[in-house]
Amino acid sequence: MKVPYSWLREYCDPGVEPGELAERLAMTGTEVERVGAVGPPSAENFVIGKVLAVEPHPDADRLQVCTVDAGGDRTIVCGAPNVAAGQTVPVALPGATMPGGQKLGKAKLRGVESNGMILSAAELELGEGPPGILVLDDDGLTPGSPLAEVLPIAEPVLELEVTPNRIDCFGVYGVAREVHAITSAPLGPEPWAEDAPADGNGDVGDYASVEVKVPALCPRFTARVFTNVKIGPSPVWLQARLTAAGQRPINNVVDITNYVMLLTAQPLHAFDLDKVPAGALTIRTATEGETMATLDGVERKLDPETVLVCDQNGPSGIAGIMGGQTSEVSEQTTRVLLEVANWNGTNILRSSRQLGLRSEASSRFEKQLHPDLCLRAQKIASQLMIDLCGAKLVPGTIDVAAEIPAPPSISLRAGRVEGLLGMRVEQADQIAYLERLGFGVEPDGDDLMVEVPADRHYDVTREVDVIEEVARVHGLDEHLPSTLPGSAGQMGGLSREQKLRRRLEDAMRDLGFDEVVGWSFTDPGLPARMNIPEGDPRATGVTLSNPLSVEQSVMRTTLLGSLLDVGKANLARDAERVALFESGRVYLPEGDSEEGPLGGGFPGEKAPSVVEPHRLGALAVGPMRPKSWRGGGEPADFFALKGVLEGLAARLGVELVFEAGEEPFLHSGRSASVSVEDTKIGWIGELHPAVCRAWDLDAATGFEVSLAPLVAGAVVGREDFVDITTFPAVLQDLAVVVPPEVPSARVRETVLAGGGELLRSAEVFDQYIGEQVGAGRKSLALRLEFRADDRTLTDEEVAELRSAIVAALKEIGGSIRD
């Protein structure tokens, strides 16, 4: 909302610089985006001039040499054909700064020195104005006096960011009342206080009729009729105001409707009455498939919830949004029907979104105006029609209105202001603030009864809304103390799951990985690039109906896609290697949430509509450890990442089970599924060559695991002491020869089973394949730890356990290598 400062001051002059007022407005709830300016940056050196004589230029046909009294006679060369002796004109003297910043000096034009410039309206940014120089009415203007006294030049404009609840501040008078409230500067009378004289012929009913078929969508429709209308340009002051407020002047009638809307917040619409057959208007909703051409020349398809203003031939305007071409006011117009209506805001908002069409009018109507505003606008506009268009107002007003609700009364209880704000405001001050804002206030015992004005009707409906009004006028910045809530007995903290998630993230960092934050949205082609076949649940993500682009139209089902994108981007930026991880969610349209926030089990009565498990993913391309004179530099392979994942699990005290597994995006021989006990939690492996190629990678290795089951198995914080010192352990190595297809995990399990409970651990530390064990065999070396809680194990006992292990190994085709 652009408010020219001089217009505001007509109703309430705060007596301060615009910048200072802007600050005060910002601190009371009306943000001022900026204090702009139209016209020259300063009014200095712009004066009134009187043209005394005009003579042709000796050396140029198009130029004229004028003698101008601008507080002393001077010569000014002028190129405008309409300049004539006797005119009163705006003059810029040397030293003036023109709009756009150009500084005016003395100039020689074809040998004649010009001491200034006679100005057009456009040169002053006062609207388009008539062609040529601007000729002012000579109402006893003194040559040489400041131009700013008669024209709004160097006009500061407050550009307000009005919040949608403050529909009153979408009109200049509403802003003036707000300024009155926050500064106590006096407020001028309401501009609609008096109605215009109706001296036209007959009665409005003789000229026009209105039928409202949808009263719920059109709570009020008023119309007045004007005859003897003379269409023409608006006077300079009006054009100047509209221009400063950001509206293009068109003609006097259209300008009046815009001016009154900017003043009152109530939009108006003018019809050429002679183009409305029989003057009959009907308000109805559109029929299926109906179309119409709006003022902007676009043929619009309408839907059955859109409200139309129709004449006997069909739609002539989309209610509250935009008029049509059929009954547009033109230069030939002599009779005008002025519509001022009230529309259902929700419906206007819906239709405007549906049509993709938003106008100054619809942006006001959609916030729900009060029906009382209609007649306010009619009264102001009527007087302007008479003054500026020479029109005659036909007596009477068509007024089709549903019952208008009475303004609500709200009780403001004593003590409630302080109780909610923690800031004391004297009751006398409360009353003063509310009255300045236009509220009616009556004492009611210790309390106050507050009556809400029409233009705050939908904004202020409860006691708490009244308290807000008091709070903001009183001033939070100056008066609100800082205290802390009495939160005794409240325990802050992270949940166990959140703490363990941090532990894992920290571990990834300490293991050399950089954390990334990937996009939650991906493109629909991602599953195919990842080799994920149709039918795989990960091939179908949650799809957005209004994405910004196809590339961001589906919610991700894996972290791997994000990691690959980030990896590729970094390698393209000349990184030699990357080790990345992400701790974030995926979005699965189907399946069940697990308990706790990491599994997507969030608080609240209504379960989420998709499953959002929290995952931990990693991707390594190139070496984990850079190559140096000491070696290193091997690209991260399956075992490098497996070591990382085992390291993570060890930090939680969880044992992971790895089994050869197939994921479509992984190398089939170098990948595994990862489980905790019997629950599969994810995958690990080297990436499939085709997937690598799709991201321009030579090779890459990664893993992705769900955090909820991983963290659920954690023993952190629940560990029990184990006595390992009283009775020492016996450590032995065991070399086992098995067929090559027997996985080491199977050997280890067999050893553990054979050793029984006194065998506390068995870890594979070496593998040998070669001549010494013969073809078709492999040898695994295990470190065994035997220990009893109640005695030191004897050599005989250990030997017995060892033979039990050997016996068990035989079952899987294993033998001991000596």
Binding site: N347, R462, L476, S545, N570, R585, P589, R630
Partner: protein, 352 residues
């Protein structure tokens, strides 16, 4: 016999003195004092000698044996010392070569770090950290937050909707978790909610995905002044020093009164100037930096969870929210929101 013993002694002493290594000495020990050495054999055969010779020969042989043992030990100590110095000299390395590289250091993302920092401050003030879904029901994101269907306030945030269900959307703020939390826990409640949010907007100052932290405190007699005090504590902890907070009245559908809050600029300490006449660029000379939105939770919002003990006539409280990226940008001078989502490892590595 005694002569032979002396011969052995001088022979052995000569050999010991000539020995060049501890290994050689060990050989000599075996040769002269070992089980099969002449001196040992001699001592062993002493019983076969005539009675009168036994004493003399025995004591001479034992004396020589002890002398040789001593000599061996002395020599061994000397040789060992010189051998160690030789091995030290041989073991010298070029200490200026680079050390064995460990894996390069990893880093947490600045968003994670900043989120954790805010969480930790709020935990210290007695708040629990809770989380909610990002794909959310319209009811939680809008309706229960006092944005009725068709209300223009819904236009304030451009929303992504889900194709399969027009009532499901990507949450536009972390505020829906307020309702979820209050449905689950009766008052008093003090919670802080971090998370991703989404708005249909993309330019230098808007990202379609970004992060927020939300705070909610409801109980008896919790006031707007308590909100300001809480923000003072929190922003002081984040930006350092003794920061001031100012609240500007604003409009949000789910709070009443609503405010936007600013923190006094930590670069110029609120003066707007860095040196005399030099404008502070961080706060643009204003002395204040806009941080987020807040307010007293609207009674209509409490009305949606009234059954769980949130009677607006009995309990009241505040909520606040702010962008994590914005805090991080201010704190670390990041010029452009989009840098957070480039995930450039050269940038990630700047934040230790």
């Amino acid at each position: 016999m005694l002569k032979r013993i002396e011969q052995i002694k001088s022979e052995a002493e000569g050999a010991i003195a000539a020995a060049g290594s501890t290994a050689e000495l060990e050989e000599l020990r075996v040769r002269f004092l070992g089980r099969k050495a002449e001196l040992t054999m001699l001592l062993r055969g002493i019983a076969d000698l005539p009675q009168e010779e036994r004493g003399k020969v025995g004591s001479a042989a034992n004396r020589v044996r002890q002398q040789l043992e001593l000599k061996l030990e002395e020599c061994a100590a000397e040789l060992e010392a010189s051998e160690i110095s030789v091995s030290l000299a041989e073991g010298q390395v070029d200490v200026t070569l680079p050390g064995s590289p460990t894996h390069p250091a990893g880093h947490l993302h600045l968003i994670t770090r900043t989120t954790r920092q805010i969480e930790d401050v709020m935990i210290g003030l007695g708040y629990r950290v809770i989380e909610g879904p990002e794909v959310e029901h319209d009811y939680y994101n809008f309706t229960a937050l006092n944005h009725p269907p068709g209300h223009p306030a819904r236009m304030l945030q451009d929303t992504f909707y889900v194709q399969s269900d027009p009532e499901v959307l990507l949450r536009t703020h972390t505020s829906p978790v307020q309702i979820r939390a209050m449905e689950t826990q009766a008052p008093p409640i003090f919670v802080v909610v971090p998370g991703k949010v989404y708005r249909r907007d993309s330019d230098a100052t808007h990202s379609p995905m970004f992060h927020q932290v939300e705070g909610l405190a409801i109980g008896e007699g919790i006031t707007l002044a308590d909100l300001q005090g809480t923000l003072v504590e929190m922003l002081g902890a984040i930006f350092g020093g003794s920061r001031q907070v100012r609240m500007r009245p604003h409009f949000f559908p789910f709070t009443e009164p609503s405010v936007e809050f600013d923190v006094s600029c930590f670069l110029c300490d609120g003066s707007g100037q860095l040196a005399v006449g030099e404008r502070c660029n961080l706060c643009k000379g204003i002395g204040w930096i806009e941080v987020g939105g807040a307010g007293m939770v609207d009674p209509n919002v409490l009305g949606f969870v009234e059954a769980n003990g949130y009677d607006p006539e009995k309990v009241q409280g505040f909520a606040f929210g702010m962008g994590v990226e914005r805090i991080a940008m201010l704190r670390h001078g990041v010029p452009d929101l989009r840098r957070f989502f480039d995930n450039d490892v050269r940038v990630l590595g700047q934040f230790l």
